[in-house]
Protein backbone atom coordinates (compact mmCIF):
# COMPACT_ATOMS: atom_id res chain seq x y z
CA UNK A 1 0.00 0.00 0.00
CA UNK A 2 2.84 2.30 0.88
CA UNK A 3 4.46 1.75 -2.48
CA UNK A 4 1.20 2.58 -4.25
CA UNK A 5 0.98 5.90 -2.41
CA UNK A 6 4.62 6.70 -3.11
CA UNK A 7 4.15 6.10 -6.84
CA UNK A 8 0.84 7.98 -6.89
CA UNK A 9 2.43 10.91 -5.08
CA UNK A 10 5.27 11.06 -7.55
CA UNK A 11 2.93 10.94 -10.54
CA UNK A 12 0.78 13.68 -9.07
CA UNK A 13 3.77 15.86 -8.40
CA UNK A 14 4.91 15.30 -11.97
CA UNK A 15 1.47 16.40 -13.10
CA UNK A 16 1.73 19.59 -11.06
CA UNK A 17 5.26 20.27 -12.18
CA UNK A 18 4.81 19.88 -15.90
CA UNK A 19 1.61 21.88 -15.52
CA UNK A 20 -0.80 19.20 -16.68
CA UNK A 21 -3.18 20.04 -13.85
CA UNK A 22 -3.10 23.74 -14.58
CA UNK A 23 -3.41 23.30 -18.35
CA UNK A 24 -6.38 20.95 -18.14
CA UNK A 25 -8.17 23.12 -15.61
CA UNK A 26 -7.60 26.25 -17.70
CA UNK A 27 -8.80 24.67 -20.93
CA UNK A 28 -11.92 23.27 -19.30
CA UNK A 29 -12.73 26.50 -17.44
CA UNK A 30 -12.12 28.65 -20.49
CA UNK A 31 -14.26 26.55 -22.83
CA UNK A 32 -17.00 26.08 -20.24
CA UNK A 33 -17.29 29.80 -19.57
CA UNK A 34 -17.26 30.41 -23.30
CA UNK A 35 -20.07 27.95 -23.88
CA UNK A 36 -22.12 29.42 -21.05
CA UNK A 37 -21.61 32.92 -22.34
CA UNK A 38 -22.24 32.33 -26.00
CA UNK A 39 -25.01 29.84 -25.31
CA UNK A 40 -27.52 31.99 -27.11
CA UNK A 41 -25.35 32.56 -30.15
CA UNK A 42 -27.34 30.00 -32.15
CA UNK A 43 -30.44 32.10 -31.75
CA UNK A 44 -28.61 35.26 -32.58
CA UNK A 45 -28.21 36.51 -29.05
CA UNK A 46 -25.38 36.89 -26.65
CA UNK A 47 -25.29 35.87 -23.02
CA UNK A 48 -26.44 33.10 -20.74
CA UNK A 49 -29.56 31.31 -22.00
CA UNK A 50 -30.78 28.63 -19.65
CA UNK A 51 -29.16 26.25 -17.25
CA UNK A 52 -30.46 23.23 -19.18
CA UNK A 53 -28.92 24.32 -22.47
CA UNK A 54 -25.68 25.12 -20.73
CA UNK A 55 -25.42 21.76 -19.00
CA UNK A 56 -26.20 19.88 -22.21
CA UNK A 57 -23.55 21.90 -24.05
CA UNK A 58 -21.00 21.37 -21.31
CA UNK A 59 -21.64 17.62 -21.34
CA UNK A 60 -21.09 17.58 -25.08
CA UNK A 61 -17.85 19.48 -24.62
CA UNK A 62 -16.70 17.12 -21.90
CA UNK A 63 -17.48 14.02 -23.92
CA UNK A 64 -15.01 15.18 -26.55
CA UNK A 65 -12.32 16.67 -24.36
CA UNK A 66 -12.11 14.50 -21.26
CA UNK A 67 -11.31 11.21 -23.06
CA UNK A 68 -8.72 12.96 -25.20
CA UNK A 69 -7.06 14.57 -22.18
CA UNK A 70 -7.09 11.30 -20.23
CA UNK A 71 -5.51 9.39 -23.11
CA UNK A 72 -2.85 12.06 -23.64
CA UNK A 73 -2.09 12.15 -19.94
CA UNK A 74 -1.62 8.43 -19.50
CA UNK A 75 -0.70 6.75 -22.78
CA UNK A 76 3.02 6.66 -21.95
CA UNK A 77 2.59 5.56 -18.33
CA UNK A 78 4.33 2.24 -18.89
CA UNK A 79 5.86 2.47 -22.33
CA UNK A 80 7.40 5.84 -21.50
CA UNK A 81 9.23 4.42 -18.49
CA UNK A 82 10.21 1.46 -20.59
CA UNK A 83 11.84 3.70 -23.17
CA UNK A 84 13.59 5.71 -20.47
CA UNK A 85 14.93 2.53 -18.89
CA UNK A 86 13.39 3.27 -15.50
CA UNK A 87 10.80 0.50 -15.88
CA UNK A 88 13.52 -2.15 -15.89
CA UNK A 89 14.92 -0.58 -12.75
CA UNK A 90 11.55 -0.38 -11.01
CA UNK A 91 10.94 -4.04 -11.73
CA UNK A 92 14.07 -4.92 -9.77
CA UNK A 93 12.75 -3.02 -6.76
CA UNK A 94 10.82 -4.71 -3.98
CA UNK A 95 7.45 -3.64 -5.40
CA UNK A 96 4.98 -5.70 -7.40
CA UNK A 97 3.82 -4.83 -10.89
CA UNK A 98 0.27 -4.51 -9.59
CA UNK A 99 1.42 -1.90 -7.08
CA UNK A 100 3.26 -0.04 -9.80
CA UNK A 101 0.27 0.16 -12.13
CA UNK A 102 -2.28 0.92 -9.40
CA UNK A 103 -0.03 3.62 -8.00
CA UNK A 104 0.19 5.24 -11.39
CA UNK A 105 -3.55 4.97 -11.85
CA UNK A 106 -4.16 6.65 -8.52
CA UNK A 107 -1.73 9.44 -9.42
CA UNK A 108 -3.10 10.06 -12.90
CA UNK A 109 -6.65 9.73 -11.59
CA UNK A 110 -5.94 12.44 -9.03
CA UNK A 111 -4.40 14.74 -11.64
CA UNK A 112 -7.42 14.44 -13.88
CA UNK A 113 -9.84 14.61 -10.97
CA UNK A 114 -8.30 17.73 -9.48
CA UNK A 115 -8.04 19.49 -12.84
CA UNK A 116 -11.62 18.66 -13.86
CA UNK A 117 -13.05 19.70 -10.51
CA UNK A 118 -11.06 22.92 -10.58
CA UNK A 119 -11.87 23.81 -14.19
CA UNK A 120 -15.62 23.17 -14.03
CA UNK A 121 -15.92 24.72 -10.55
CA UNK A 122 -14.42 27.93 -11.84
CA UNK A 123 -16.87 27.87 -14.72
CA UNK A 124 -19.74 27.20 -12.30
CA UNK A 125 -18.67 30.09 -10.11
CA UNK A 126 -18.46 32.43 -13.08
CA UNK A 127 -21.95 31.44 -14.17
CA UNK A 128 -23.31 31.85 -10.63
CA UNK A 129 -21.86 35.35 -10.38
CA UNK A 130 -22.36 36.55 -13.94
CA UNK A 131 -25.66 35.08 -15.07
CA UNK A 132 -28.92 36.55 -13.94
CA UNK A 133 -31.73 34.55 -12.48
CA UNK A 134 -30.03 31.21 -12.26
CA UNK A 135 -31.15 28.89 -9.47
CA UNK A 136 -28.04 28.25 -7.44
CA UNK A 137 -29.23 24.89 -6.12
CA UNK A 138 -29.92 23.60 -9.59
CA UNK A 139 -26.64 24.94 -10.86
CA UNK A 140 -24.70 23.24 -8.08
CA UNK A 141 -26.51 19.97 -8.76
CA UNK A 142 -25.91 20.10 -12.49
CA UNK A 143 -22.26 21.08 -12.18
CA UNK A 144 -21.66 18.50 -9.44
CA UNK A 145 -23.08 15.76 -11.63
CA UNK A 146 -21.01 16.99 -14.56
CA UNK A 147 -17.82 17.04 -12.52
CA UNK A 148 -18.40 13.61 -10.96
CA UNK A 149 -19.29 11.89 -14.19
CA UNK A 150 -16.47 13.67 -16.07
CA UNK A 151 -13.98 12.28 -13.57
CA UNK A 152 -15.38 8.78 -13.99
CA UNK A 153 -15.22 9.15 -17.76
CA UNK A 154 -11.63 10.33 -17.48
CA UNK A 155 -10.68 7.33 -15.38
CA UNK A 156 -12.22 5.00 -17.97
CA UNK A 157 -9.92 6.42 -20.61
CA UNK A 158 -6.90 6.41 -18.31
CA UNK A 159 -7.55 2.69 -17.89
CA UNK A 160 -7.74 2.35 -21.69
CA UNK A 161 -4.49 4.28 -22.00
CA UNK A 162 -2.78 1.84 -19.60
CA UNK A 163 -4.05 -1.13 -21.55
CA UNK A 164 -2.46 0.37 -24.65
CA UNK A 165 0.68 1.30 -22.76
CA UNK A 166 1.38 -2.22 -21.50
CA UNK A 167 0.69 -3.82 -24.88
CA UNK A 168 3.10 -1.86 -27.08
CA UNK A 169 6.83 -1.30 -26.97
CA UNK A 170 7.07 2.10 -28.60
CA UNK A 171 5.72 5.41 -27.40
CA UNK A 172 4.75 6.53 -30.89
CA UNK A 173 2.61 3.45 -31.40
CA UNK A 174 0.92 3.98 -28.03
CA UNK A 175 0.09 7.55 -29.03
CA UNK A 176 -1.37 6.36 -32.32
CA UNK A 177 -3.48 3.69 -30.68
CA UNK A 178 -4.71 6.19 -28.09
CA UNK A 179 -5.99 8.42 -30.88
CA UNK A 180 -7.67 5.43 -32.53
CA UNK A 181 -9.45 4.58 -29.26
CA UNK A 182 -10.61 8.18 -28.91
CA UNK A 183 -11.79 8.26 -32.50
CA UNK A 184 -13.72 5.00 -32.15
CA UNK A 185 -15.49 5.74 -28.91
CA UNK A 186 -16.12 9.43 -29.33
CA UNK A 187 -16.77 9.84 -33.05
CA UNK A 188 -17.25 6.59 -34.93
CA UNK A 189 -19.55 4.95 -32.41
CA UNK A 190 -22.08 7.80 -32.68
CA UNK A 191 -22.07 7.67 -36.45
CA UNK A 192 -22.54 3.91 -36.44
CA UNK A 193 -25.42 4.20 -34.01
CA UNK A 194 -27.04 6.86 -36.14
CA UNK A 195 -26.70 4.68 -39.23
CA UNK A 196 -28.30 1.77 -37.39
CA UNK A 197 -31.11 3.95 -36.14
CA UNK A 198 -31.91 5.06 -39.65
CA UNK A 199 -31.65 1.64 -41.23
CA UNK A 200 -33.67 -0.31 -38.65
CA UNK A 201 -37.26 0.10 -39.79
CA UNK A 202 -39.23 -1.80 -37.24
CA UNK A 203 -38.62 -2.88 -33.70
CA UNK A 204 -35.33 -1.45 -32.56
CA UNK A 205 -36.19 -1.73 -28.86
CA UNK A 206 -32.70 -3.08 -28.36
CA UNK A 207 -31.03 -0.02 -29.78
CA UNK A 208 -30.79 1.93 -26.50
CA UNK A 209 -28.92 -0.98 -24.97
CA UNK A 210 -26.13 -0.37 -27.42
CA UNK A 211 -25.48 2.92 -25.63
CA UNK A 212 -24.09 0.99 -22.69
CA UNK A 213 -21.37 -0.43 -24.93
CA UNK A 214 -19.70 2.96 -24.98
CA UNK A 215 -18.53 4.73 -21.82
CA UNK A 216 -18.90 8.09 -23.57
CA UNK A 217 -22.61 7.39 -24.14
CA UNK A 218 -22.95 6.30 -20.52
CA UNK A 219 -21.54 9.66 -19.55
CA UNK A 220 -24.08 11.44 -21.71
CA UNK A 221 -26.91 9.39 -20.28
CA UNK A 222 -25.93 10.33 -16.74
CA UNK A 223 -25.75 14.03 -17.49
CA UNK A 224 -28.80 14.34 -19.71
CA UNK A 225 -31.03 12.11 -17.65
CA UNK A 226 -29.65 13.04 -14.27
CA UNK A 227 -30.49 16.65 -14.71
CA UNK A 228 -34.19 16.99 -15.03
CA UNK A 229 -34.36 20.17 -17.01
CA UNK A 230 -32.06 18.70 -19.61
CA UNK A 231 -34.26 15.73 -20.38
CA UNK A 232 -36.57 17.69 -22.59
CA UNK A 233 -33.65 18.44 -24.88
CA UNK A 234 -32.79 14.87 -25.52
CA UNK A 235 -35.23 12.48 -27.07
CA UNK A 236 -32.99 9.50 -26.56
CA UNK A 237 -32.94 9.91 -22.84
CA UNK A 238 -36.66 9.41 -22.45
CA UNK A 239 -35.67 5.84 -21.89
CA UNK A 240 -33.94 6.90 -18.72
CA UNK A 241 -37.13 6.66 -16.72
CA UNK A 242 -36.72 3.10 -15.74
CA UNK A 243 -34.56 0.03 -15.20
CA UNK A 244 -30.99 -0.24 -16.26
CA UNK A 245 -30.93 3.28 -17.63
CA UNK A 246 -31.39 5.00 -14.31
CA UNK A 247 -28.40 7.24 -13.59
CA UNK A 248 -27.31 5.11 -10.62
CA UNK A 249 -27.16 2.01 -12.78
CA UNK A 250 -25.41 3.79 -15.62
CA UNK A 251 -22.87 5.09 -13.12
CA UNK A 252 -22.25 1.53 -11.98
CA UNK A 253 -21.74 0.52 -15.60
CA UNK A 254 -19.29 3.37 -16.05
CA UNK A 255 -17.34 2.08 -13.05
CA UNK A 256 -17.30 -1.35 -14.69
CA UNK A 257 -15.87 0.38 -17.75
CA UNK A 258 -12.98 1.51 -15.56
CA UNK A 259 -12.44 -1.89 -13.98
CA UNK A 260 -12.43 -3.93 -17.19
CA UNK A 261 -9.56 -2.28 -19.12
CA UNK A 262 -7.60 -1.70 -15.92
CA UNK A 263 -7.95 -5.37 -15.00
CA UNK A 264 -6.84 -6.42 -18.47
CA UNK A 265 -3.89 -4.06 -18.29
CA UNK A 266 -2.86 -5.54 -14.92
CA UNK A 267 -3.11 -9.08 -16.25
CA UNK A 268 -1.10 -8.25 -19.30
CA UNK A 269 1.53 -6.34 -17.31
CA UNK A 270 2.02 -9.15 -14.82
CA UNK A 271 2.40 -11.79 -17.47
CA UNK A 272 4.80 -10.11 -19.82
CA UNK A 273 8.53 -10.47 -19.51
CA UNK A 274 10.57 -7.43 -18.73
Amino acid sequence: MNAILTIAGKEFRDGMRNRWVLAIALVLAFLAVGIAWFGAAASGGLGFTSLATTVVSLATLAVFLIPLIALLLAFDAVVGEQEAGTLLLLLTYPISRTQLLLGKFLGHGLILGAATALGFSVAGAVIAVGAEGVALGELAHGMGLLIGSSILLGWVFIAFAYLISVCVSEKARAAGLALVVWFLFVLVFDLGLLALLVSVERGGDWLPWLLLLNPAECFRLINLAGFEAARSYSGLTSIAESGVFRPAMVTAILVAWIAAPLGLALLRFRRRTA
Partner: protein, 314 residues
Protein backbone atom coordinates in the same frame (compact mmCIF):
# COMPACT_ATOMS: atom_id res chain seq x y z
CA UNK B 1 34.04 -18.24 0.86
CA UNK B 2 30.40 -18.45 -0.04
CA UNK B 3 29.24 -17.93 -3.57
CA UNK B 4 27.01 -14.87 -3.79
CA UNK B 5 25.98 -15.78 -7.31
CA UNK B 6 25.77 -19.43 -8.29
CA UNK B 7 24.91 -20.54 -11.82
CA UNK B 8 24.66 -24.27 -12.46
CA UNK B 9 24.32 -25.24 -16.09
CA UNK B 10 22.04 -22.30 -16.82
CA UNK B 11 20.47 -22.15 -20.24
CA UNK B 12 18.08 -19.46 -21.37
CA UNK B 13 16.26 -19.70 -24.67
CA UNK B 14 14.10 -17.08 -26.34
CA UNK B 15 12.15 -18.69 -29.09
CA UNK B 16 14.66 -20.90 -30.83
CA UNK B 17 17.61 -18.73 -29.90
CA UNK B 18 19.88 -19.76 -27.03
CA UNK B 19 20.79 -16.52 -25.28
CA UNK B 20 22.80 -18.40 -22.70
CA UNK B 21 24.06 -21.94 -23.08
CA UNK B 22 24.86 -24.14 -20.06
CA UNK B 23 26.69 -21.46 -18.10
CA UNK B 24 28.47 -22.36 -14.87
CA UNK B 25 29.54 -19.41 -12.77
CA UNK B 26 30.35 -18.73 -9.14
CA UNK B 27 30.93 -15.21 -7.92
CA UNK B 28 32.37 -14.99 -4.43
CA UNK B 29 31.66 -12.51 -1.73
CA UNK B 30 33.66 -9.31 -1.93
CA UNK B 31 35.05 -9.62 -5.43
CA UNK B 32 34.70 -7.51 -8.52
CA UNK B 33 33.81 -9.66 -11.49
CA UNK B 34 33.78 -8.29 -15.01
CA UNK B 35 31.43 -9.66 -17.62
CA UNK B 36 32.96 -9.22 -21.05
CA UNK B 37 31.66 -10.10 -24.46
CA UNK B 38 30.43 -8.78 -27.79
CA UNK B 39 26.88 -7.54 -28.27
CA UNK B 40 24.48 -10.40 -27.79
CA UNK B 41 27.05 -12.54 -25.99
CA UNK B 42 24.68 -12.97 -23.07
CA UNK B 43 25.89 -10.29 -20.65
CA UNK B 44 22.56 -8.61 -20.20
CA UNK B 45 20.73 -11.96 -20.13
CA UNK B 46 23.03 -13.05 -17.32
CA UNK B 47 22.24 -9.88 -15.37
CA UNK B 48 18.52 -10.27 -15.92
CA UNK B 49 18.68 -13.85 -14.67
CA UNK B 50 20.46 -12.67 -11.52
CA UNK B 51 17.82 -9.98 -11.05
CA UNK B 52 14.99 -12.46 -11.49
CA UNK B 53 13.61 -10.55 -14.47
CA UNK B 54 14.08 -13.75 -16.46
CA UNK B 55 13.87 -17.37 -15.38
CA UNK B 56 16.32 -19.98 -16.63
CA UNK B 57 15.03 -22.44 -19.23
CA UNK B 58 17.31 -25.07 -17.75
CA UNK B 59 19.66 -25.20 -14.82
CA UNK B 60 19.64 -23.41 -11.50
CA UNK B 61 20.36 -19.83 -10.47
CA UNK B 62 20.95 -18.92 -6.84
CA UNK B 63 21.66 -15.37 -5.68
CA UNK B 64 22.43 -14.65 -2.01
CA UNK B 65 21.18 -18.13 -1.22
CA UNK B 66 17.91 -18.34 -3.13
CA UNK B 67 16.31 -18.33 -6.55
CA UNK B 68 15.87 -14.69 -7.64
CA UNK B 69 12.63 -15.36 -9.55
CA UNK B 70 10.76 -16.99 -6.68
CA UNK B 71 9.56 -16.11 -3.20
CA UNK B 72 13.09 -15.11 -2.27
CA UNK B 73 12.87 -12.14 -4.67
CA UNK B 74 11.36 -9.72 -2.15
CA UNK B 75 14.20 -10.04 0.38
CA UNK B 76 16.81 -10.28 -2.34
CA UNK B 77 15.72 -7.08 -4.04
CA UNK B 78 16.25 -5.02 -0.94
CA UNK B 79 19.85 -6.21 -0.66
CA UNK B 80 20.73 -5.69 -4.27
CA UNK B 81 21.71 -2.63 -6.25
CA UNK B 82 21.33 -2.41 -10.00
CA UNK B 83 22.34 0.19 -12.53
CA UNK B 84 20.83 -0.59 -15.93
CA UNK B 85 22.43 0.38 -19.20
CA UNK B 86 21.04 3.62 -20.67
CA UNK B 87 18.71 4.68 -17.94
CA UNK B 88 17.46 8.24 -18.04
CA UNK B 89 15.92 9.33 -14.80
CA UNK B 90 12.89 11.53 -14.40
CA UNK B 91 14.10 14.77 -15.89
CA UNK B 92 11.49 16.94 -14.21
CA UNK B 93 12.69 15.96 -10.76
CA UNK B 94 15.81 17.11 -8.98
CA UNK B 95 18.58 14.67 -8.15
CA UNK B 96 17.49 14.58 -4.54
CA UNK B 97 13.85 13.95 -5.46
CA UNK B 98 14.80 11.07 -7.76
CA UNK B 99 16.90 9.44 -5.06
CA UNK B 100 14.23 10.09 -2.45
CA UNK B 101 11.61 8.38 -4.63
CA UNK B 102 13.75 5.29 -5.08
CA UNK B 103 14.64 5.24 -1.37
CA UNK B 104 10.95 5.14 -0.48
CA UNK B 105 10.28 2.36 -2.96
CA UNK B 106 13.19 0.34 -1.61
CA UNK B 107 12.00 1.09 1.92
CA UNK B 108 15.36 2.27 3.14
CA UNK B 109 16.12 5.11 5.52
CA UNK B 110 15.73 8.34 3.60
CA UNK B 111 18.47 9.91 5.66
CA UNK B 112 20.85 8.06 3.34
CA UNK B 113 19.88 10.24 0.41
CA UNK B 114 22.01 13.26 1.31
CA UNK B 115 24.94 11.12 2.33
CA UNK B 116 24.85 9.16 -0.93
CA UNK B 117 24.58 12.30 -3.02
CA UNK B 118 27.69 13.60 -1.30
CA UNK B 119 29.48 10.31 -1.71
CA UNK B 120 29.02 10.27 -5.50
CA UNK B 121 29.88 13.97 -5.67
CA UNK B 122 26.44 15.33 -6.49
CA UNK B 123 25.91 17.16 -3.22
CA UNK B 124 26.23 20.57 -4.86
CA UNK B 125 23.76 19.68 -7.64
CA UNK B 126 21.18 17.88 -5.51
CA UNK B 127 18.50 20.53 -5.94
CA UNK B 128 18.97 20.93 -9.67
CA UNK B 129 16.71 19.11 -12.07
CA UNK B 130 18.13 15.99 -13.70
CA UNK B 131 17.44 17.67 -17.05
CA UNK B 132 20.43 19.91 -16.44
CA UNK B 133 22.81 17.07 -15.51
CA UNK B 134 25.73 15.97 -17.68
CA UNK B 135 26.12 12.36 -18.75
CA UNK B 136 28.64 11.72 -15.99
CA UNK B 137 26.39 13.25 -13.34
CA UNK B 138 23.47 11.12 -14.49
CA UNK B 139 25.60 8.02 -14.27
CA UNK B 140 26.70 8.97 -10.76
CA UNK B 141 23.08 9.55 -9.79
CA UNK B 142 22.41 6.03 -11.12
CA UNK B 143 25.22 4.69 -8.98
CA UNK B 144 23.83 6.48 -5.92
CA UNK B 145 20.48 4.87 -6.69
CA UNK B 146 22.12 1.43 -6.85
CA UNK B 147 23.84 2.07 -3.52
CA UNK B 148 20.60 2.72 -1.62
CA UNK B 149 20.25 0.46 1.38
CA UNK B 150 23.89 -0.72 1.46
CA UNK B 151 23.49 -3.58 -1.01
CA UNK B 152 25.43 -6.80 -0.63
CA UNK B 153 25.49 -7.27 -4.37
CA UNK B 154 25.90 -4.61 -7.03
CA UNK B 155 25.12 -5.17 -10.69
CA UNK B 156 26.40 -2.53 -13.08
CA UNK B 157 25.50 -2.85 -16.75
CA UNK B 158 27.92 -0.87 -18.92
CA UNK B 159 28.36 1.71 -16.17
CA UNK B 160 31.02 3.86 -17.84
CA UNK B 161 29.74 4.10 -21.40
CA UNK B 162 29.98 7.73 -22.42
CA UNK B 163 32.09 8.80 -19.44
CA UNK B 164 35.40 10.57 -19.92
CA UNK B 165 38.54 8.87 -18.53
CA UNK B 166 38.62 10.94 -15.34
CA UNK B 167 34.95 10.25 -14.62
CA UNK B 168 35.53 6.56 -15.37
CA UNK B 169 38.39 6.45 -12.88
CA UNK B 170 36.30 8.21 -10.22
CA UNK B 171 33.49 5.79 -10.85
CA UNK B 172 35.66 2.72 -10.44
CA UNK B 173 37.37 4.16 -7.37
CA UNK B 174 33.96 4.37 -5.73
CA UNK B 175 33.22 0.80 -6.79
CA UNK B 176 36.51 -0.41 -5.36
CA UNK B 177 35.73 1.33 -2.07
CA UNK B 178 32.49 -0.63 -1.91
CA UNK B 179 34.28 -3.89 -2.64
CA UNK B 180 36.62 -3.16 0.24
CA UNK B 181 33.58 -2.90 2.49
CA UNK B 182 32.51 -6.41 1.51
CA UNK B 183 30.15 -5.68 -1.36
CA UNK B 184 30.20 -8.05 -4.33
CA UNK B 185 30.24 -6.34 -7.70
CA UNK B 186 29.39 -7.71 -11.11
CA UNK B 187 29.91 -5.31 -13.97
CA UNK B 188 29.77 -5.56 -17.70
CA UNK B 189 31.80 -3.32 -19.93
CA UNK B 190 32.93 -2.68 -23.45
CA UNK B 191 35.64 -0.28 -22.39
CA UNK B 192 38.33 -2.79 -21.52
CA UNK B 193 41.35 -0.58 -20.73
CA UNK B 194 39.38 1.39 -18.16
CA UNK B 195 38.16 -1.58 -16.24
CA UNK B 196 41.38 -3.62 -16.16
CA UNK B 197 43.01 -2.29 -12.98
CA UNK B 198 39.86 -2.63 -10.93
CA UNK B 199 38.64 -6.16 -11.48
CA UNK B 200 39.46 -9.33 -9.58
CA UNK B 201 38.21 -11.77 -12.16
CA UNK B 202 36.72 -11.68 -15.62
CA UNK B 203 34.20 -13.86 -17.38
CA UNK B 204 34.44 -13.75 -21.15
CA UNK B 205 31.21 -14.70 -22.86
CA UNK B 206 30.66 -15.43 -26.52
CA UNK B 207 27.51 -16.62 -28.24
CA UNK B 208 25.96 -17.40 -24.87
CA UNK B 209 28.83 -19.66 -23.80
CA UNK B 210 31.62 -19.21 -21.33
CA UNK B 211 34.88 -18.72 -23.22
CA UNK B 212 37.12 -18.05 -20.25
CA UNK B 213 36.92 -17.28 -16.56
CA UNK B 214 39.61 -16.26 -14.15
CA UNK B 215 41.82 -13.53 -12.80
CA UNK B 216 44.00 -11.60 -15.25
CA UNK B 217 47.03 -13.70 -14.25
CA UNK B 218 45.12 -16.92 -14.78
CA UNK B 219 43.79 -15.75 -18.09
CA UNK B 220 47.28 -14.76 -19.22
CA UNK B 221 48.64 -18.17 -18.31
CA UNK B 222 45.80 -19.92 -20.05
CA UNK B 223 46.15 -17.85 -23.17
CA UNK B 224 49.98 -18.01 -23.16
CA UNK B 225 50.09 -14.92 -25.31
CA UNK B 226 53.51 -13.51 -26.14
CA UNK B 227 54.77 -10.63 -24.04
CA UNK B 228 55.92 -7.52 -25.83
CA UNK B 229 59.39 -6.35 -24.82
CA UNK B 230 60.64 -3.02 -26.05
CA UNK B 231 64.30 -2.08 -25.93
CA UNK B 232 65.78 1.30 -26.69
CA UNK B 233 69.38 2.34 -27.26
CA UNK B 234 70.64 5.84 -26.73
CA UNK B 235 71.21 8.12 -29.66
CA UNK B 236 71.09 6.98 -33.25
CA UNK B 237 74.28 4.95 -32.82
CA UNK B 238 74.40 1.23 -33.47
CA UNK B 239 72.09 -1.02 -35.37
CA UNK B 240 70.11 -2.45 -32.47
CA UNK B 241 67.76 -4.49 -34.58
CA UNK B 242 70.67 -6.04 -36.45
CA UNK B 243 72.49 -6.96 -33.27
CA UNK B 244 69.36 -8.56 -31.81
CA UNK B 245 68.26 -10.31 -34.97
CA UNK B 246 69.36 -13.86 -34.26
CA UNK B 247 67.57 -15.91 -31.59
CA UNK B 248 67.82 -19.63 -30.86
CA UNK B 249 64.17 -19.75 -29.94
CA UNK B 250 62.19 -19.54 -33.20
CA UNK B 251 59.11 -18.25 -31.39
CA UNK B 252 60.73 -14.92 -30.67
CA UNK B 253 59.92 -12.31 -33.24
CA UNK B 254 61.61 -8.98 -33.63
CA UNK B 255 60.70 -5.81 -35.41
CA UNK B 256 62.43 -2.45 -35.50
CA UNK B 257 60.21 0.42 -34.48
CA UNK B 258 62.76 2.99 -35.60
CA UNK B 259 66.55 3.29 -35.75
CA UNK B 260 67.12 2.93 -32.05
CA UNK B 261 64.10 1.08 -30.75
CA UNK B 262 63.00 -2.54 -31.24
CA UNK B 263 59.98 -4.51 -30.23
CA UNK B 264 60.24 -8.21 -29.40
CA UNK B 265 57.38 -10.64 -29.18
CA UNK B 266 58.36 -13.14 -26.50
CA UNK B 267 56.55 -16.25 -25.21
CA UNK B 268 56.08 -16.07 -21.41
CA UNK B 269 58.55 -18.87 -20.63
CA UNK B 270 61.35 -17.23 -22.63
CA UNK B 271 60.93 -13.87 -20.93
CA UNK B 272 63.92 -14.12 -18.58
CA UNK B 273 66.27 -15.43 -21.24
CA UNK B 274 65.41 -12.47 -23.42
CA UNK B 275 65.82 -10.00 -20.58
CA UNK B 276 69.23 -11.42 -19.69
CA UNK B 277 70.49 -11.00 -23.21
CA UNK B 278 69.07 -7.52 -23.49
CA UNK B 279 70.79 -6.37 -20.31
CA UNK B 280 74.04 -7.76 -21.67
CA UNK B 281 73.67 -6.07 -25.04
CA UNK B 282 75.79 -2.99 -25.30
CA UNK B 283 73.96 0.25 -25.86
CA UNK B 284 70.55 -0.81 -24.54
CA UNK B 285 69.39 1.95 -22.33
CA UNK B 286 65.83 1.13 -21.49
CA UNK B 287 63.72 -2.02 -21.43
CA UNK B 288 59.97 -1.95 -21.29
CA UNK B 289 57.79 -4.99 -20.53
CA UNK B 290 54.25 -5.02 -21.82
CA UNK B 291 52.20 -8.05 -20.70
CA UNK B 292 49.11 -8.81 -22.78
CA UNK B 293 46.29 -6.48 -21.77
CA UNK B 294 42.73 -7.46 -21.10
CA UNK B 295 41.98 -6.35 -24.60
CA UNK B 296 44.53 -8.79 -26.07
CA UNK B 297 43.15 -11.55 -23.89
CA UNK B 298 39.63 -10.73 -24.92
CA UNK B 299 40.56 -10.78 -28.59
CA UNK B 300 42.40 -14.06 -28.09
CA UNK B 301 39.52 -15.84 -26.38
CA UNK B 302 36.79 -14.52 -28.62
CA UNK B 303 38.80 -15.42 -31.73
CA UNK B 304 37.49 -18.95 -31.25
CA UNK B 305 34.07 -17.74 -32.26
CA UNK B 306 33.02 -17.78 -35.87
CA UNK B 307 32.32 -14.35 -37.34
CA UNK B 308 28.62 -15.23 -37.60
CA UNK B 309 28.47 -15.92 -33.88
CA UNK B 310 30.21 -12.69 -33.11
CA UNK B 311 27.98 -10.67 -35.37
CA UNK B 312 24.93 -12.28 -33.80
CA UNK B 313 23.93 -9.17 -31.94
CA UNK B 314 20.77 -8.65 -29.96
Amino acid sequence: MTAVIDFQGVTRRDGGLARLDALDLQVNEGEIMALLGHNGAGKTTTMHLILGLLSPSEGRVAVLGGAPDGAHAETLRRRLGYLPENVSFYEQLSGREVLDYFARLKRVDRGQVSELLDRVGLGHAAERRVKTYSKGMRQRLGLAQALLGDPRLLLLDEPTTGLDPAATRDFYDTVRGLRDRGCTVLLSSHVLPGVEPYIDRALILGGGRRLALGSLTELRMEAALPITVRARSHGAGGDLAGRLADWEDPRIGISALNGHEVSLSVPPDAKLAVLRRLTDTAGVEDIELLPPTLEHLYTHFSAELSPQQRGDSE
